[in-house]
Symmetry: C2
DNA sequence: TGGAATGATCTACACCGTATACAATCTACA
DNA sequence: TGTAGATTGTATACGGTGTAGATCATTCCA
């Protein structure tokens, strides 16, 4: 194995076990069995090491060979794969069936993203904190592009919807991991949680709903369904406009 | 002014000027004119200080007096308010007009959130990194609840859609600030950007679109419009189901 | 007037990222 | 086979970090 990969693995393992703050050049070096300064020829800097860590995670999603998804939930990623609601990999297909339709494909990609973020709770916020332009992420984005095009989304809108999808998936995961979604009363470790003084008509009207515990799996699925609805509406709108513009002609690329 | 507020102001100012990494107990203390350890009785710890900073920002959004939005674009938030595309405050109304409809209200809240995140680029990622349950954020959430209820969203779905809205707005802002959206070639500060080896059919099919520069303002507006569409579809669905369940009766609160 | 509480200070500790200088090992070519 | 060059690891050191601990000044209330 490449020395760089060993370093990245050590860093990911430390982050999983003791949190992202525990990832220091010294701790990683110690785990690899080397002096801190020995890491620099391989990773360049601490920031580049963090970049490499998220790249490594996206590598879990699309192992190495291009577009094909992993064979199954335990295909050598990083240990047992607990409690995934639906599919194993981002593009998982029943063997022998045709190519998956864009809905199941996008939903699977979204679920895979959240699954990774749950396995590595430190990752989601990193995705927002630094540009993600590693080869692995480019590959992942390309698959999403393909699914959106297959759904009939016009090319103009595809990059935007890809970004929106990523924002929702990783934003959801980051909120889950960071505690943004947690109710205040479950977080009594500080003097926070004191309510504002003014009236809160919205909260009062929703008292019943807010009292019930939330089901995050269900909420994520509902968000995915809403995103699919957006995609479908966009495709539908494009189809009707195209029909109106050119009733029965071949389409030429504009511009 | 409370000493705590002065500390928070100093921290925010430092983050605005020199980035979040420049916010240290020592730098903040120096700006306040005090020893580092003197901060601890007021803010507790560095983590709590960061919490307080994002609370302070949400305080910009809803100044102090409960639900009423700021009177106009320059109503004393934090100085001049540069380059806002549409409205001034989250609930801005033309004076004398009726209460704003939920669409403009939600759009204004979203724009205000993004505007804050642009003024303080370090903030958006912090929102994801730590739980946001300050009094100010509770107040902000309450306004969103009200708008969603006014749109006709059933109570069951209101908290989820509020979270989805916040995820999209802050996720967009964090991506903008963190560089997740930036094209790789505009980020040449490292040896990243090397493309994967396999084919990228999606990118090839979208070559024209990807070559054009993106308009982030327009993209944000499009995302807001899509969210509004989701909200409307949810409300519409709920109305039709309700009509089917109780053909001509007064509605009683369920549960 | 006398505690007690609060706020601020000083010192110190363990840790951080990494610049710099140097030694060891491996590679490629004469 | 010998040697130059590159690559990889080490040792040391510097300036920075958050904060525990002890101490001192001020202020407020009994």
């Amino acid at each position: 194995m490449d020395r760089r990969d060993a370093i990245l693995d050590a860093a990911v393992a430390i982050a999983d076990e003791r949190g992202l703050d525990a990832v220091s050049m010294r701790s990683v070096a110690e785990r690899v069995g080397v002096t801190p300064m020995a890491l620099y020829p391989h990773v360049g800097s601490k920031a580049a090491l963090l970049d490499g860590m998220i790249g490594r995670l996206l590598g879990e999603m699309w192992p190495a060979d291009g577009l094909s998804p992993p064979a199954g939930p335990g295909s050598g990623a990083d240990g047992p794969d607990p409690a995934e609601p639906a599919t194993g990999g981002p593009g998982a297909t029943a063997p022998g069936a045709g190519p998956p339709d864009w809905r199941t494909q996008l939903a699977a990609i979204g679920r895979a993203g959240r699954a990774i973020a749950r396995r590595h709770p430190w990752a989601a916020s990193l995705v927002f904190a630094r540009p993600a332009v590693t080869p692995d992420s480019v590959r992942a984005i390309d698959v999403v592009y393909g699914a959106l095009l297959a759904a009939g989304v016009p090319a103009q809108q595809v990059p935007r919807l890809e970004r929106l999808l990523g924002t929702v998936v990783f934003g959801f995961a980051a909120s889950e991991a960071g505690g943004r979604f947690g109710p205040p009363e479950s977080n009594p470790r500080s003097t926070r949680g004191l309510l504002p003084e003014g009236p809160l008509p919205g909260h009062e009207a929703l008292a019943d709903v807010l009292a019930a515990p939330a089901d995050w799996d269900a909420e994520f699925e509902a968000d995915l369904a809403d995103l699919a609805e957006i995609i479908e509406a966009t495709a539908r709108r494009a189809r009707s406009e195209q029909r109106r513009d050119r009733p029965a002609a071949d389409r030429a690329s504009p511009g």
